[in-house]
Amino acid sequence: MTALDDLLESCWAAAPCRPWPRLSVTAEQWRTAANELAAGRWTLVSLWAEPQIVHMSILEDSSNRIAILSLQSSHKDFPSIGRSHTPALRLERTIQDLVGLAAQDLPDTRPWLDHGRWKLHHPLATKPSQTHGARPYHFLPVEGPDLHQIPVGPVHAGIIEPGHFRFTASGETVVRLEERLGYVHRGVESLMIGSTIEHAARLAGRASGDSTVAYALAFARAVEAATEIEVPSRVHYVRAIMAEIERIANHVGDIGAICNDAAFALMLAHLGALRERVLRASMNVFGHRLMMDVIVPGGLVRDITSDGIHELLNMLNLIEASFPKLVELYDNTTSLQDRTATAGIVSPELARLFGAGGFVGRASERNFDARKSLGYSPYDMLTFDVPIRKEGDVNARVWIRIREVEQSILLIKLLLDTLPEGPVETVPHRVEAPCEGISIVEGFRGDIFIWLRIDAKGNIDRCHLRDPSWFQWPLLEAAIEGNIVADFPLCNKSFNCSYAGQDL
């Protein structure tokens, strides 16, 4: 009997939550959970709070079961998970910033998202207070002879999102990298409170623009789980086709960009053109290059026509004709491999500890893909491979992405082949009492987690979105250690973590 079975037997279900339970736990049980996480039997999926209540979502690794544990906190604090399980650290600092609940004996109490510049202090607390202004941020100390610091950002040299990197280097070698994020915090979760489901879906679709399909899908699935809507099978198929197109577009673009950062611009030119073709096909078939706002709770705003199927097949054929040649080029260019192989290594132990999702985890031997491990529709009926490697370097992450592009092409063809007939229009939801829903969706970057509660009027009462980047950003800090500063862009691009999704 596992610790999760014990909990399921001894705990109250806190609320009707679907498809996985949310349990009311005691402080003692909360601490037990911390031990299970630290021992590696559970993986932390997310940690967030409402006024006077903290929630933790966990994954039991042996059974791939999910549960949410909720702890009432009548005081202003709760037992820290981050104290014994590092991946929780930034999430607990965020809880402190947004809700004002403090994790007890937290080893790092510096604010994370709150830079002291918002209009409100503790914006998600019952009574937000006046902000107290910006205070200096103390980076972690690094001591030793001949060390120097290199501050980078928030405005970077390339066309990328803002964040601050503080390198401490000894000559060319990076001794420590510390990230400071939060620059693109827009208050997405706060804007969702009290909003209609439709409006919140648009906000969710803009959590991280490169994953707009995955976020819209995760949000729609959470609403459908909460309100017990059964969408027609055609909807599941079309949504999966969109999710795989998004995966291909991002992987193809990123592989090109990684090679470009290793001074091999030819790959970027070819793969950039390929990405453009994918986006143009998406525009023709779904009416938007990134397929924003097409997936909505209850269905889709647009169906694939027979012309659309033709267009998508043409696009796939084009990729199949040119992608393998580019893969061969990558594989045969030693100057490129020189830069990517053995650069920016993430050990399998760290990837497992942090529950790293997507290609970051799978390049470091963590065999988790929400499509397969949790088997949501329509993936539960499909056969496909989840590529795994164990080197954990830039090269391994590139190869995982290459293999995933190949799998996604096969998946889309399979889905188009067996696309069921039927409606895709939105099924109206009826809400009579508050209800809660959870979903986990495999975006191109990894698993996206969403929990939400709908109030009796059918509006969003609270919604929490967790980007895969939360558990990948800290690994980038580890991966760059011992590499030279000039290899940072390469390592960083091979992760391509989301700033917007993390900062929210």
Partner: protein, 178 residues
Amino acid sequence: MRKTLLASLIQGPLTEAAPRPDEKALEEVSEGLRRAARRSLGRSLAIREVDTGSCNACELEIHALSNPFYDIERFGLRFVASPRHADVLLVTGPVTSNMREALERTYRATPEPKWVVAVGNCACTGGLFTSSYACVGPVSAVLPVDVTVPGCPPPPIEILRALLALLVGMENDTPQNV
């Protein structure tokens, strides 16, 4: 590599014909341009992109401007790494409170003459984030904006049209024509 290079030679270019400059953007830029600036700049613009709270969708489309279909550099438009080398700030996202100072400092670091182009609904109006405790509002709440490119995100061709309007606006407003 030889195969790929040869195939690219035979294939012919992907680059497409230039779009017409955006009419609305032309109107926007025709007023505020200074003669000295046009004389010193000629037909070339150095662009510094600044994300002040975008969801990164606008960044994806700005990136696409450099792909072989749009090939933005053929118009004399190029992205530079520092605001000190820039003529234009291309700003995306509702300006978050956490990014306001960075945006102001980037603007101050950009030498005169300089122009600000707001890309995307968020940058133009604040978008969905207008009422947030964490956002200041559209770019115009912080900096003088010369051209706006609405869209969520605007497709690359629209961003290109706006930038071309900026270039053409400068030419039309040359001393000879005044």
